[in-house]
């Protein structure tokens, strides 16, 4: 396999692996935990490295997971004191842990082949050169194998606990009442986020892990309603960002990880604007159409409310509408014209009255309310 293809494959696997736990972070309004965890795993990695002296040891992943869980636990402890709100607790805990990691690396820079820039930014371009061989046989790039294993763990966890995860994402209190131990599941999920972050961080660096964990699920959230479709769409968007990012980086000769994050942002922005129903454009268009629909409905209901009452003579005049509904002349004429066309109202000089169709429409609109 060519290096270019291998890099793209690694990028896709990383993106997909990140998107899976990301869906639950986004749904549980904990997206910023990915930022906190991806930074706070650093001291765990450094300390595990000091103990084992080996950067490719599985202990590194355990050390990282411990760092991630420590963050979650510390945030929880601080929040429970009642002295800090949760966001402040997050904002204080992870920079402190990250600083410890940076200082440890800086102090022992001579002995550690851990480059702080690489930790933060990752460098995918070199991934194909770090390979795992067994008995002289090339098994493939280390990043691909490690990430592949983490991907399988994520998939298995989410499939096995799908029902429970769905429940804690949508109704935490109910999950607790049904005896699903939401706290335990929460910690397991955070553990997975940590493991995913450490696996991905070699390739894309700690900050860009956040982009891959949050942007694709948030984009999918604008496109889908169910949990399963949201997972599938997130995975696809993640994979597309990865491949597109690779080629953009190739073209500009720039950071692949940065380009992947940028592409996930471009996809998010496009979906944000163009998504059917929930996109900004669609909402805007519907609003302006709806202004007319709204106006028509209001006109009909207004006439209905005052129909047959003594004030009708006054309330049901064209000029009154402009006055009291605060409509400008042009909009009032549009609403009246549209209602006339739809056969909802009749016009006699300045007076407006409802047709039978209009009365029905008014009644059905009221039921909707």
């Amino acid at each position: 396999m060519s290096a270019s293809l291998e890099i793209q494959l690694i990028a896709v696997v990383v993106a997909v692996t990140c998107a899976l736990p990301g869906v639950f972070l986004v749904l549980q309004r904990m997206s910023m935990m990915s930022d906190a965890i991806s930074h706070a795993i650093l001291p765990g990695i450094v300390i595990a490295f000091f103990i084992t002296g080996n950067l490719s040891s599985p202990w590194i992943i355990l050390g990282a997971a411990a760092g991630g869980l420590l963050t979650v636990a510390l945030v929880e402890v601080l929040r429970k004191t009642g002295l800090l709100k949760e966001d402040a607790a997050i904002g204080i805990v992870f920079p402190a842990l990250f600083s410890v990691g940076v200082i440890l690396i800086a102090q022992y820079a001579g002995d550690v082949h851990l480059d702080i820039d690489a930790v933060l930014l990752g460098e995918l371009a070199f991934a194909p050169f770090d390979r795992i061989t067994m008995g002289g046989m090339d098994l493939g790039p280390r990043a691909l194998l490690v990430m592949g294993v983490i991907l399988v763990v994520n998939v298995v966890f989410i499939s096995v606990f799908f029902k429970e995860l769905k429940l804690i994402s949508f109704d935490r209190a109910l999950a607790g009442a049904l005896g699903f131990a939401p706290a335990l599941l929460h910690y397991v999920l955070m553990g997975l986020v940590s493991v995913t972050a450490v696996g991905a961080f070699d390739a894309v660096g700690s900050i860009l892990v956040v982009a891959l964990m949050v942007a694709p699920p948030a984009s999918a959230y604008l496109l889908t309603d169910g949990l399963k479709p949201m997972i599938v769409v997130s995975v696809v968007i993640g994979a597309v960002s990865a491949v597109a990012g690779y080629w953009v980086a190739h073209w500009l000769d720039a950071s692949i990880a940065g380009a992947m994050a940028s592409m996930s942002g471009v996809l998010f922005l496009s979906i944000l604007i163009l998504a059917p129903h929930r996109g900004l454009w669609s909402v805007q268009k519907r609003r302006s159409n709806q202004a007319l629909l709204f106006g028509r409905k209001m006109l009909v209901i207004h006439l209905y409310n005052h129909e047959g009452l003594p004030e009708a003579q006054h309330e049901c005049r064209m000029d009154h509408l402009e006055d009291h509904l605060r409509w400008d002349h042009a909009f009032a004429s549009r609403a009246i014209r549209s209602s006339l066309q739809n056969d909802y109202i009749l016009q006699q000089g300045p007076h407006l009255s409802l047709t039978e169709t209009g009365r029905k429409y008014a009644r059905s609109s009221l039921v909707e309310l």
Binding site: R286, Q290, F294, I301
Partner: protein
């Protein structure tokens, strides 16, 4: 007739869903009016759009015959107690003084005379001993009294209050009722979002029944009928047929 609060054809939409639809309300001056209706009926939206905090899709609100923007100094507002963070680093007197920020205008800081005014209105709600107390140390009832004192210091003609009885003790509830009745005696108009249907006839002169649309409004004895209540709180289909039936009579 000069109405203290004159709402005409008010429609308010949140995103694309109407929360108030073509609502009318006329409140004569010197009246205590309760605004009641089920959750999501648009009670808070009615108050907020009257105060210019929400832009209505259509309709108008006049306070003593003029738009709110020209009448600010004669209107006071008591928001829901739960809408602020009571752990905010400030004390009771300071919160009450905030009622005078409108009169002070840009950049001017409250001084001694403002603090004296604030103390006076704290005394009106029986909280003067708590002036220097940090607000996080107050009970629910005391928090509510502080908010009332902040509205009193605004020295307004028209008061809008959002659930002032929510979660307060019996003593505070009695004190608030007394306060509201005093305001009415001084000829002020008070509109109160209220939850407890049972106390409506006892506490208020007028009532508005609201459920997205205005069901009825007027003097309690005329409007607070079982029929109207059923329409307000009952099923929506039932409500339309009841309305048409009433109309065809």
């Amino acid at each position: 007739m000069d109405y203290a609060i004159d709402i005409r054809d008010l429609t308010v939409a949140y995103r694309e869903k109407p929360v108030l639809w073509d609502v009318d309300l006329q409140v004569p001056p010197g009246v205590l009016i309760a605004i009641v209706g089920p959750n999501g009926a648009g009670k808070t939206s009615l108050i907020k759009s009257s105060l210019g905090l929400i832009k209505p899709a259509a309709g108008s609100v006049l306070i003593h015959g003029r738009p709110y923007s020209e009448q600010r100094s004669t209107v006071a507002y008591v928001p829901q107690r739960g809408s602020v963070d009571w752990d905010f680093p400030t004390n009771v007197l300071d919160v009450v003084t905030m009622g005078l920020y409108g009169r002070l205008g840009w950049f001017k800081r409250p001084g001694k005379s403002e603090r004296i005014e604030a103390l006076k209105s704290l005394a009106q709600v029986g909280m003067e001993e708590y002036a220097t107390r940090q607000i996080s140390q107050l009970s629910g009832g005391q928090q509510q009294r502080v908010f009332l004192a902040r509205a009193l210091v605004q020295d307004a003609n028209v008061y809008f209050m959002d659930e002032p009885f929510q979660g307060v003790d019996a003593t505070t509830e009695r004190a608030i009722v007394e306060l509201l009745q005093n305001l009415r005696k001084q000829g002020k108009t008070v509109a109160v979002v209220h939850h407890d249907l049972q106390t409506v006839p006892e506490y208020f002169d007028h009532v508005m029944l609201l459920n997205v649309r205005r069901i009825a409004s007027g003097p309690v004895e005329e409007v607070f009928t079982e029929d109207n209540l059923r329409t307000t709180y009952g099923g929506r289909v039932a409500f339309v047929s009841a309305l048409s039936a009433a109309r065809k009579q």
